[in-house]
């Protein structure tokens, strides 16, 4: 009998051509906290979803509590004492807080009849333990993102698990909520519970982890006790080289003013945002998840109607717009953060994806000119080195990085003056990421202004000429290049009294 509560041995997994995991092995002892780190797309979530029974591994074995596990369903995994807090919020928004917390394992009498009293009282107790007070009858759709994250954590706690996986639980928590989370982790560990903790915030990892596993490009780099690591070493393990090398720079001077937004608000969290954008620069937007960065991007692009304020170009006769079609005409482009649901036409060919916004250029009287189209698609493929079997391949069968390039290619073809990139490197592997950075710089060199939203602080700091920080729907500060530090940004982004009211 081993001392490990969990062993995942030689796990491999690929998705439609993307090798997400290759021969990865991890081992966990009871009552320990394991940090799992790695870049975007390194395979952390995939590994945990395999553990959860949500995906089936292509190869490898899982030994849990001394027993080899075969093809368990999500429900069986939960029953066996493993609970997972997923990276993407996993709640049914129409259902109430309490129903979500106990979904799948409701306290019940005979015949599946629910014990509603217990459902609500136990939910309330769990939430109290997390230090928040919420009406457990409220549907989740009414909660803020941070509240939802806490409900997720409550859901995991409710399962009385022996092993809890937390996939970036802190991404949207700050201040007291975060402290509360850590103290709960401590008390769980005291009770012998094992925690696997995934986070991009390395400070947290150093604060709570006993041991750290690094993944890169789907492969295991190393597992080391925390006391044998320092921050620069860990980063180097993750990235494979010193950090500052990966951000290409250009030496251009600040161009002329191209676009201004004045006191814009939309029907979302976004309130009273103003910004100026200059030719050839990258304006970084930083903030916690849910701080309204995506809403800002959508408002700038005319995708959400403005309730007040104005966005206009200074060039191009001061054009302004009220919907995406007009924004595109005026020279804007938006690469949305959610590629699958907002950026890509997965059931259509790469060709159609690329030329969709520029149909007027490749048609004569509404009729497509295939030669013109072929040339454009071929050129785009060359320029971004997109790997695909043919231009007629459906987008869904391309790898994530190539999908993202496809979306970028589409917008570059519109010859924009302003490009808004919302999380442009999310889910993109490290090589492609580097190419995207280079591409952004090439755009700058052509005088194109870029707004870049990113949750990765090093990326924002490394790439941006200026950085705006958002907090609870407002722009709360600005850093010039070289002035920004992670700590400085986080401080502004998590400041509690900037109008934010989380609970």
């Amino acid at each position: 009998m081993s001392d490990y509560i969990l062993e995942m041995r030689n796990i491999s997994k690929s998705f439609a051509g993307v090798q997400a995991l290759k021969d990865v092995t991890i081992r966990c002892k009871p009552g320990q906290v394991y940090g799992l780190v790695g870049e975007n797309g390194a395979g952390k979530s995939t590994l945990m979803k395999i553990l959860a029974g949500a995906y089936k591994a292509d190869a490898g074995e899982i030994i849990y509590k001394g027993e080899q596990r075969e093809g368990a369903t999500a429900g069986e995994v939960i029953d066996s004492g493993i609970s997972i807090i997923y990276q993407e919020l996993a709640l049914v928004s129409q259902m109430s807080v309490a129903e979500n917390i106990f979904l799948g394992r409701e306290p019940r009498y005979a015949l599946g009849v629910l014990n509603l009293r217990e459902l609500h009282s136990r939910s309330a107790a769990l939430l109290t333990r997390l230090g928040i007070r919420l009406d457990t009858r409220l549907p989740v759709s009414e909660l803020t993102v941070a509240q939802r994250q806490l409900v997720e954590i409550a859901k995991a706690l409710s399962q009385n698990a022996d092993l809890i996986v937390m996939d970036e639980p802190s991404a949207i928590l700050a201040g007291s909520e975060l402290d509360q989370l850590f103290s709960i982790i401590e008390s769980l560990v005291e009770q012998g519970v094992t925690i696997i903790y995934i986070s991009h915030r390395l400070d947290e990892v150093f604060r709570i982890a006993d041991e750290v596993t690094v993944l890169k490009d789907g492969e295991l780099v190393e597992t080391r006790p925390i006391d044998q690591l320092d921050r620069p070493t860990l980063v180097e393990l993750m990235v494979g080289r010193p950090l500052d090398e990966i951000f290409p720079q250009t030496d251009h001077e600040q161009g002329e003013l191209v676009m201004v937004a004045e006191h814009i608000s939309s029907d979302t969290i976004l309130e009273d945002a103003s910004l100026e954008l200059y030719a050839g620069e990258i304006l970084g937007i930083a903030g916690m998840v849910g701080s309204g960065r995506t809403e800002l991007a959508r408002a700038l692009f005319g995708a959400d109607p403005l309730t007040s304020g104005e966005v206009r170009l200074v060039t191009n006769k001061g054009a302004s717009w009220s919907n995406p079609a007009k924004a595109i005409e005026s020279g804007l482009a938006l690469v949305p953060e959610d590629r699958k649901s907002h950026g890509l036409f997965t059931s259509l060919s790469a060709r159609i994806n690329v030329t969709l916004p520029i149909l007027s250029r490749i048609t004569r009287m509404g009729v497509l000119q295939s030669q013109a189209e072929d040339e454009i698609v071929e050129a785009a493929k060359e320029r971004l080195s997109i790997v695909m079997a043919s231009a007629d391949q459906e987008a869904q069968y391309l790898s994530g990085g190539n999908q993202q390039k496809l979306v970028l290619a589409k917008w570059l073809e519109t010859n924009p003056t302003v490009v808004i990139l919302d999380e442009p490197t999310r889910g993109v592997d490290v090589g492609a990421k580097f190419e995207i950075y280079k591409l952004m710089r090439q755009l700058n060199d052509r005088g194109i202004a870029i707004v870049m939203i990113s949750s990765e602080l090093p990326e924002v700091i490394g790439m941006s000429d200026r950085i705006l920080v958002m907090n609870a729907g407002r722009i709360v500060g600005e850093f010039a290049h070289g002035e920004a530090s992670e700590a400085g940004i986080i401080e502004l982004a998590t400041m509690a009294d900037s109008g934010a009211n989380h609970s």
Partner: protein
Amino acid sequence: MSVAKPHESAKQVNGWRARKFVADYGVYIALLLLLLAAAVLTPKLYEVNTIAVVMRQASQLGIVAIGQTLILLVAGLDLSIGGIFVMTSIVVADVTNGRDDLVIPAILIALALGALVGLGNGVLVTKRRVPPFVATLGMLVLVKGATQAYTRGVPGGFVPEVLGIVNQSWFVLSIPLLLWLGLNAVFMFVLGRTAYGRKVYAVGSNTEAARLSGISVDTIRISVYVLGSCLAVASGVVLTGYVGYVDRFIGTGLELDSIAAAIVGGTAFVGGRGGLLGTIAGVLLIQLLSTMALLMGLDIQVQFIIKGLVILGAVTLYSLANVEE
């Protein structure tokens, strides 16, 4: 530093090719099997007269199925076409009252009314976000009710003689068949070779992405419903000429048959995938089934059962092709 390793890429492409083959040609395989079966069971089917009959009858379903395919491509559905057939045949008889010279105005009026129904469908679906199923069902009841109120239950008037040309055949060629083929050619061109067609697929494939790409999504969806209704009017005119007089039950069942034809032909129920090439085969499949059943003297009830089983079989093929690994 390449994004996808070469061997993975090859594997991935092969999988994609295999799936694409089944998705694109599955219905033709089924059609071929049926034709082989016919050679044994009902050799009569291969005579010129029979082919002419099959083709002419298939055209009635086929023309509607073009519109239904367009609508399915934007993740919609149209149940209101049954009402449009009746309306068309009443307008034709009422306006012309048998006079040949009024046929064109009558058809134009019918098209205008049809477009109005399509507009109603489209507006309900886009602006009020009513699910297409209920929106077009409501319009069906409304159109039938309006026709009823207008005619006071008695569809009067005569169908002009000149519409009888839809009944002429030269070998296997006939006006409905030519119309069907012509419309197919036009709409295949529109879907495959024009900006409009691209937009239809884009809207069906990912509505929000289409909007963010600058496509006026609502306009495209509404226009597709309008086109669908106009094609139903066209089919209604053919049916009216075919029947030779106003019939309240004209075209009954074509709405569900046209959906079945498109789906069996590989057009996805969720939009953005499929096309007319498959729908043509779907239409022929359904028409051949019913003609063969008649040639074999099978009961009408057996036809219902066979049609249902064929739909299930064909769709199973697609669902197998789309299973994730």
